[in-house]
């Protein structure tokens, strides 16, 4: 089955893939810091969605669709229009390049993110393993 992006099922499946990934576990073994991914509306998708991904020492501790950005605390907030998220998930936009060109806006300690580039790459690799159904 395919998981709709963005949805509660989709982010939970991403957490499952991360927890099954040895490469992610090794790359992020000291990582502490939860994320909220904010999906902003654009011509392909008319809504705003908030996806929470809890990450601690190489594992995903929690994942959920939130009703607002303030529902949970997160050290990092990544914000982008729907179509840019789609490009990241499909491997067409490298997330670090996306941040460098402001296609992904990041709030949080960049110094920390830049110490874990391999983990970022592995998260994208896990995204590719989630069978995803996109809005038209």
């Amino acid at each position: 089955m395919a998981f709709k992006f963005p949805s509660d099922e989709w982010i939970k499946e991403l957490a499952n893939q991360l927890n099954a990934s040895e490469a992610y576990e090794k790359a992020a073994k000291d990582w502490e810091g939860d994320f909220i991914f904010v999906v902003e509306p654009d011509e392909a998708y008319p809504h705003t969605a908030y996806l929470f991904l809890g990450l601690y020492h190489g594992k995903s501790t929690d994942a959920a669709l939130l009703s607002s950005e303030n529902e949970r605390e997160a050290e990092f907030i990544l914000r982008a229009p729907y179509s840019n998220w789609r490009n990241v998930i499909e491997g067409k936009l490298d997330p670090i390049q996306g941040m460098m060109t402001r296609k992904l806006q990041v709030k949080g300690n960049m110094m920390k993110i830049m110490r874990y580039p391999k983990a970022a790459k592995e998260i994208v690799a896990c995204c590719a393993l989630v069978p995803t159904e996109f809005a038209a």
């Binding site: 040895e22 490469a23 090794k26 790359a27 490298d94 670090i96 390049q97 941040m99 460098m100 060109t101 296609k103 990041v106 960049m110 110094m111 993110i113 830049m114 110490r115 874990y116 580039p117 391999k118 983990a119 970022a120 790459k121 592995e122 690799a125």
Partner: protein, 387 residues
């Protein structure tokens, strides 16, 4: 969407005269003591003074500069208030100068906070000239700043587009005094920049030509520059090649050979160019197994093999090893004299550090932890990669 950022590049014999036209009041020269003793810094200082500058020299940059050094340099800058930062040296002084410049403009920042995503707002107080005295790092044309964290024995790959110098003065006379060993090591660094810039996942149409041409020049002129330092044509072409390669990889990225090289340099103090030169063929062979296309294309362009695919890519790895041998450089880590026991004792740290090096972002084949371990072991033993 992507960017291509370049300094104004003044090159060729006599390029140093570009300093005569610099407009400003105060110039801070960032360099190291050896270059002061060799008289290279004196030449720069004299020209700047003739151009009307008050000049101060910060010459405390050590090889593989650390955070403390750039904090000290930034203090000197804040007291002197230069409107130009003038870096004279190899990669270490130029990288240190970039960091000093950033901290002079943004005193509230810690060096480790310099990243490619957060804007810095430079050029409010000063601009920067870089004058390379080696033909290798290309730092005069890049946004990269490599600093060493001595406590963690780790190299920090920092950088920001704004930290690309305003002017690069690429005058071969400034590098003509390099020893054969320094010529060889730094030349291999430039080759790694060219090959990794061309083959990494972040390669671009704008950087490809620079990387290809740099690789072509290095294969052709490095042996002559090492064998006979007085061969001024070889010196000049190598000096240009290093800047071309710097410009190429700065607008793309380096890759796994640099991840391994940074780890080896920080733990065992192997010179950067020697370390990446050793690692490069192994990483090419590793990539060749799954993603050979760009390597094979480069091998064909350079005239090493028209076979394409994995065979073509492996020909490129072979050509790099052959070049290392011709210039008398090691092709395995064992050949550097490092004992196996010492190497294995640090293997976990090497793999950990390389795994999380920023250059890993652009690897076309991403090694697992175990594969990375094997890569380090094969590179130690000098065994061509077969997995």
């Amino acid at each position: 969407m992507w960017y291509f950022v370049s300094p104004q590049i003044v090159f060729g014999e006599g390029a140093i005269c570009a300093l005569d036209e610099l407009q400003g009041c105060r110039a801070l020269i960032v360099t190291d003591r050896t270059l002061v003793e060799l008289g290279l810094v004196g030449q720069v200082k004299d020209r700047l003074e003739r151009a009307g500058f008050e000049v101060r020299i910060f010459d405390s940059v050590e090889p593989d500069p650390d955070v403390q050094t750039v904090l000290k340099g930034a203090e000197v800058a804040r007291a002197f208030e230069p409107d130009w930062i003038v870096a004279v040296g190899g990669g270490s002084p130029i990288d240190a100068a970039k960091a000093i410049w950033v901290l002079y403009e943004r005193p509230e920042l810690h060096p480790a906070e310099i990243n490619p995503i957060t804007p810095l707002g430079l050029r409010c107080k000063a601009r920067m000239v870089a004058i390379p005295t080696t033909s290798g790092t290309g730092s005069e044309a890049t946004m990269g700043i490599v600093l060493t964290d001595r406590e963690e024995r780790r190299k920090m790959g920092l950088g920001n587009r704004e930290a690309v110098p305003d002017i690069a003065i690429v005058d071969p006379c400034m590098a003509a005094g390099m020893s054969p060993q320094l010529t060889a090591d730094t030349g291999l660094d430039a080759l790694a920049h060219a090959i990794e810039g061309y083959t990494c996942a972040w390669h671009t149409d704008f950087a490809d030509g620079l990387c290809f041409n740099a690789a072509r020049l290095i294969f052709r002129y490095l042996p002559a520059a090492v064998a006979n330092g007085a061969d001024l044509e070889a010196r000049e072409r190598m000096h240009n090649a290093a800047t071309c390669a710097g410009l190429g990889f700065s607008n793309a990225l380096t890759s796994i050979a640099h991840s391994m090289g940074h780890a080896l340099g920080a733990v065992f103090h192997l010179p950067h160019g020697r370390a990446v030169g050793i690692c490069l063929p192994y990483t090419i062979e590793f990539a060749a197994h799954q993603a050979p296309e760009r390597f094979a294309e480069l091998a064909a362009l350079l005239g090493f093999s028209q076979a394409g695919g994995e065979e073509g890519a492996r020909a490129l790895a072979g050509a790099v090893r052959e070049l290392c041998r011709r210039i008398g450089n090691p092709t395995s880590i064992a050949e550097t004299g490092l004992s196996r026991a010492d190497y294995e004792a640090h293997l976990d740290k090497l793999v950990d550090d390389a795994f999380n090096d920023t250059s890993m972002m652009s690897a076309v084949r991403s090694p697992s932890y175990e594969e990375f371990r094997q890569l380090f072991l094969y590179a130690y033993e000098g065994k061509p990669v077969d997995f």
